[in-house]
């Protein structure tokens, strides 16, 4: 039970990072972006490339940071991958979404995002192949926290959790303490009104894509660190991330964080109740339950 709860929190932190970006986009740009999860793949592969590059040029960067399986070159690669992914998100918006936004409705955007997801995912598999890849082939062994009940934790997972929480805290501070944060919230609430009060809307939209993209990259890299990297990461994670976003309440950053943990814990605890064959359905059934009780998500507000 405790082990499942812990595992759920660790998985949840990865989903939360992905959900923050999605909730921002869904709220400000008013559409469900199904290509968001592909940014996780973009981030993970970008990190893989940069990691390889840095490691090749500066061999001292290849040493691992004990007790993690993380290397210095990967840490550096994470930063570059976040920027690259944020920029790709802006590029995709410029190429596709902005054009459709100008004349189409919300649903056209949603299905364009499906199309974009297909293109991005398959471009990645053309470039990198369909096989699974890893940042490090070494297996990081779990540390025994307690023997009875048996509780095991992997150092990498603890790092991922702490790093995710730090990023979320940082983002919280930006949102609640800076002019930029206020502007962001204003745009999220009411883009037209925000524009009247002097917020540069298109610049704000670019910032939202940049933030959403870089957080997605982080989420994808952390996923790769704990599991593996393959071209279908996005396809596999899109649903849990959506579930997290919606359960938390669209537009609520804190809801997204909460939703991520909820989905992570739910899918872990599910195995205690149901045979594992049913586990894919469980997060959604829990969300169904949440929505029946709170039709706008846990922290969401009704929107006209």
């Amino acid at each position: 039970m405790i082990q499942h709860l812990l595992d759920g929190i660790l998985v949840g932190s990865i989903l939360s990072l992905g959900a923050i970006g999605l909730t921002l986009v869904m709220h400000t740009l008013r559409f469900a972006n199904f290509s968001h999860a592909e940014l996780l793949s973009v981030g993970a592969y970008a990190a893989l490339v940069f990691d390889g590059l840095f490691g090749a040029f500066y061999s001292q960067l290849r040493s691992t940071i004990e007790p993690l399986s993380l290397t210095w070159s990967l840490i550096l690669a994470i930063l570059f991958a976040m920027i690259v992914t944020g920029l790709s998100a802006i590029l995709i918006d410029k190429l596709v979404f902005r054009r459709i936004r100008e004349k189409g409705d919300e649903l056209s955007m949603v299905f364009a995002s499906f199309g974009v997801a297909m293109v991005v995912r398959n471009l990645i598999s053309l470039l990198f192949g369909l096989k699974s890849q890893l940042f490090s082939n070494d297996i990081a062994f779990a540390i025994v926290i307690s023997r009875d009940p048996m509780i095991l934790v992997k150092p990498d997972q603890v790092f991922v959790l702490i790093a995710s929480l730090l990023v979320m805290l940082l983002f919280h501070l930006v949102l609640s303490r800076t002019t930029f944060g206020y502007a962001l919230q204003a745009v999220a609430e009411n883009p037209v009104l925000a524009q009247i009060t002097g917020v540069n809307l298109s610049r704000m939209f670019r910032m939202i894509w940049l933030i959403g993209g870089s957080l997605a990259a982080l989420s994808g890299i952390f996923y790769g660190l704990n599991n593996q990297i393959n071209p279908v990461i996005g396809r596999d994670l899109v649903l849990p991330i959506f579930a997290a976003t919606i359960a938390g309440g669209i537009g609520s950053v804190y809801g997204a964080v909460l939703g991520g943990f909820l989905v992570g814990i739910a899918s872990n605890l599910a195995l205690m109740i149901l045979p594992s064959g049913y586990s894919p359905a469980v997060p959604f059934l829990i969300i169904l339950g949440v929505l029946i009780l709170r039709p706008n998500g846990i922290l969401g507000e009704a929107r006209a």
Binding site: M26, A32, V96, R99, I100, K103, G104, D105, L107, S108, V110, F111, A112, F114, G115, V116, A117, M118, V119, R121, N122, L123, S125, L126, L239, F242, A243, I246, I250, P275, G277, Y278, P280, A281, P283, F284, L285, I287, L288, L291, I292, P295, N296, G297, R303
Partner: protein, 311 residues
Amino acid sequence: MIGLISYLVFFATVSSILAIAVLGLNLQWGNTGLFNGGVAAFFGAGAYGLILLGGTVQADHIGGFELFYPVALVGGILLSGLIALVVGMLTIRLRRDYLAIATFGVAVAFENLMRNAEWLSGGAQGMRGFERPFEDSIADPFVFNIIFFCFSVLLLLGVYLFLEKLIRSPFGRLLRAIREDEVAAKSLGKAPNRVRLTAFVVGSMIMGLAGGLYATFYAFVSPQDVLPTLTFQIWAMLIVGGSGNNQGGILGAFLIWAAWTASGWMLSKFAPIEAQLYTGTLQYIMIGMIIVGMLLWRPQGLLPEKLIVSQ
């Protein structure tokens, strides 16, 4: 030449079946504004219901009642309607994205149940043991395909005419009124949720009909037939064709399915032999680009909704 006709009949049959499902979705989304993310479940209920009721006895799961074909088909449709009723009662008051994810969850749960409950659905192996109606008496498979094609088109036409009549009726007007302004409709003493539920159930039953025809044509159904991809395909057909417009929905079904399949055929024909192994991936890129391209070109759909003024 006969080969080409044979293929086109086959293609048009599948397109017509998918078009029926698109029409069902159009009633829900285009006319009522209900974001059904679980098309695959209602389609699948029709398919599984049909084989369960109309199939021969199988060793490893229930069913095999060998009912008369139309009865089995109606049974499958009613099963879709029943599931839609239960799901609708729980979720119909949810808005857009929330309804979408809730119904999506239902579809995932449906697929999961079909994959795991071997006693019910044959599990991941799927269900067979279904005899295609009159297949034995029609010796030539080509003739069978043509007859089945006509049958599917007739049903498509029937559903189309029914929906056209429906949306021009006072009920149809009410659907659009609720979609556009729920509060106004309420103020006139209408019960929006009950009307929505009706549209949801009827739309889902139409999807069930499509599922039943699909299972008839293949004489087989498995969890692989009810994956979320199907929901996406049906939605893409509606949005590209033009939501709110039944003709648009049918056009979208034929066009998207053509793009989906013809892209693979073209790649196998024209891509260099060195690239043949990568055509599967290339095909996905092509399909994605066609969908994005069509939406960039006409974001409102090929045949946008016409304002219907009913007298």
